[in-house]
Symmetry: C2
């Protein structure tokens, strides 16, 4: 985070990074490397690189979404302005590649450059498709694979790569991260409609107000009769909302058990993540990676 | 520029890339590689990577500066919105690293990741220091080295690296690019006060209206009496401007030959760029790189 010439860079980065957050992605890198018996120290640079990429995307997302709150505090774009958020995000992104270069592994750079491209692609896709109900679950999963699961998958995978694990192990770690990332985003999208979210510093109802076609909405829309579909079409596709619409949305989500079913789907993806680890013998790190799945899916209960 | 899932990406990228521009930076990579006798094809990927980094920074700059016009056309942020500009910039930046990975050269990744970090640092520094007259020329050169010369230097340097040139040749190419980049920015900052700028699609007077302490202003401030310094302090440092101030600025710039002297400084840096090439024997590519210096500095006349 340091910068010799621009002291605003560590100041702004620290605002976001020191606010906490779960540090899930870098933990995946560290745990995956240790699981595969790695005894060097390159995994530390990679874990930092992964967290920098994540932080850069948060800085840019908050500009894109015009968010006012993140992790229970005012966002950097509110405190420092959009300009600083865009440029400091760029700086952290470039620094993350410098950290990867220090490991000397082209394969690591390939994986994380690829993930970065997929993340940006997923965000652009979300921007153009977020109000679209017709794309259904296929489109939804395409978006969350890009914007969330890609970095989880890459974070776990590079832990295996730096440890020179077997191709089967590296592939298992990638599948673990992918499934965990999907479970994580499903839980996030469910919590946006209430639950333990207040404790996370999230603004409940943001996705509804933004007219985002997340999985709970897609389930209720899919299962609803013509009148219900008209409602969803108005509030999501046309993004035409008025007082009482959020309450009506909650009533329809409840009628179709859409929030519970989203939680169930998250649990299924959590099971897939755990199953991906079957290839590894029991160990402290395998139990840690399994526990992370429980931590992620339990947030929804 | 392609994207399977997000067609908006090639659309927005093409808006900027097909608008033309001088393609100076990728030409440096291609010419440097050929100058050093390279016969492979990796220089093409690197030239594209360099232009992608440049395009990504333009997209983000236009968001940061709230620009309305670039290369004579409406900017992408005006046509497509800030959100798309931020995210498509991120995408091009990630794609540029994928192109570098294809060359298999960690050194190339090191050079261009380093340049990317320096560019972002220079932009952040410019944002916090742009109205500051006290920093003087030292601060000014620090900013333009970061925001402009770093990518020119890296573009030329990676051409030598991919050609497996000697360290002396690689260093010469880097020095050439650095000096050329500084000359280029000096000319740009001079043209912002008029001249051939109309033909470039630039908005004359933008730097003054933004209160930027560019070299012409620093020269006039440095040489002016107390009243003149008060004027510059008000319009640049306090960014408090009213009708007639731009005319007054032009009068003071003229009185101290500040625009001509900026042009002369650019010519000096151009000479340094040409001198850096002394290590190379005469060849078609050496003459091409020399001609580029003439092209860049002649814009100011």
């Amino acid at each position: 985070m340091e910068s010799e010439h621009a002291p605003r860079i560590p100041e702004l980065s620290a605002h976001l990074i020191e606010a906490g957050g779960k540090r899930l992605r870098p933990v995946l890198t560290l745990a995956a490397a240790k699981l595969c018996g790695y005894e060097g120290d390159h995994q530390i640079r990679l874990a930092a690189a992964v967290e920098f990429i994540h932080t850069a995307t948060l800085l840019h997302d908050d500009v894109v979404d015009e968010s006012a709150k993140r992790r229970g505090r005012p966002t950097a774009n509110i405190l420092f302005g959009n300009q600083q958020s865009v440029l400091v995000g760029d700086y952290l992104f470039a620094r993350s590649f410098q950290l990867m270069v220090e490991t000397g592994s082209i394969r690591v750079l390939d994986i994380l450059a690829g993930a970065s491209a997929v993340i940006a692609e997923g965000e652009v896709l979300q921007l153009t498709a977020q109000h679209d109900l017709a794309g259904g679950e296929a489109r939804y999963f395409q978006v969350i694979r890009g914007k969330t699961a890609a970095l989880f998958a890459a974070a776990a995978e590079v832990g295996g790569v730096v440890a020179a694990a077997t191709e089967a192990e590296i592939s298992a770690l990638r599948n673990y991260g992918d499934a965990l990332g999907i479970a994580f985003q499903l839980v996030d999208d469910r919590l946006d409609y209430g639950g333990a979210a207040a404790a996370m510093g999230k603004n409940v109802g943001d996705d509804f107000r933004d007219g985002k076609a997340t999985l709970p909405v897609l389930i209720a829309h899919q299962e609803g009769g013509p009148e219900e579909r008209d409602f969803w079409s108005r509030v999501i596709e046309d993004h035409d909302q008025s007082d009482g619409d959020l309450e009506e949305a909650h009533r329809l989500l409840g009628a179709h058990r859409a929030l519970d079913r989203t939680t169930e789907r998250a649990a299924e993806w959590g099971e897939r993540a755990i199953a991906a680890l079957d290839i590894f013998a029991d160990s402290e790190m395998k139990r840690a990676l399994t526990d992370i799945v429980g931590f992620v899916t339990a947030r929804a209960r």
